[in-house]
Amino acid sequence: MTGLEFVFVLIAALTLFSAVMVVTTPNMVRAALWLILALFGVAGTFVLLNAAFLAVVQVVVYIGAIAVLMIFAIMLTRKVMKDSGPQTNSTWGLAALIAAALFGGLTFALTRSPAATLMAPDFSTVSDPVAELGRALVSPQAYVIPFEVASVLLLAAMIGAIYVAWKK
């Protein structure tokens, strides 16, 4: 086992353990904190896959904003914070079966597919992938229209969210 594989196993174990803790912790605030650890593990996996930008996005958006949004949402609802009802309901066995079948099916299909033997494309000639992405985002030959449309979309999302959430 190489050092990289060891780090991967470590990060994968941390991610899976946190994910299990998210669904088994009775307290919702603690579950949200475990979710942050799980998302952090996913960021580590992105790093190991040489996807540094995605790792940054994972930390900035998922841990920095979405986890905070979730914790605020939990803390807004006083009852949920106190409530520690049962962690399972009557269909948990069926749900576990479907999840296991989906996992097994995906593993089967992905290990059989020709993509399983493909190597990652070599980006070692690109000196700075993030700078390349930045240039592509604002280049008229590439993604400038989606880039500006994203800004309009974000504006609409912000105004829409405030219109719905803000009553005075």
Binding site: V47, F72, L76, V130, G134, L137, V144, I162
Partner: protein
């Protein structure tokens, strides 16, 4: 590329070990003379009122909602900023337009009074 991340991993380990040491070591070497005031919850030096598990004001959620949008803006601006010194003026203006469009949203919130802490 990955070797650079080794430093990040190193920093994570240091960031975990250092506070752990400062919490665990005093447990063994510090003298213990607890009284009611000493074991009280510390909250910026003022006396604590009620429990820590309180219900938040809805304003926090609204701020988090707006923060989420600007956070996603950061994701788009980060590669743009990295490539900034290699970009032509036109491309720089594209980024400025991106920021300006979202600033319009901020102005909308401001005018609507969302940013006021009532």
């Amino acid at each position: 590329m990955l070797t650079n991340w080794l430093y990040v991993g190193l920093f994570i380990i240091v960031a975990l070990v250092l506070p752990a040491v400062t919490i665990i070591v005093p447990r063994f070497i510090a003298p213990k003379k607890p009284n009611r005031i000493k074991v009280d919850v510390y909250e910026c030096g003022i006396e604590t009122v009620g429990e820590a598990w309180v219900q938040f004001k809805v304003q926090y959620y609204i701020f988090a909602l707006v923060f989420l949008v600007f956070d996603i803006e950061t994701v788009f601006l980060y590669p743009w900023a990295v490539a900034f010194d290699k970009l032509p003026l036109f491309a720089v203006m594209e980024g400025v337009l991106f920021i300006a469009l979202l600033l319009a949203g901020l102005v909308y919130l401001w005018r609507k009074g969302v940013l006021e802490w009532a």
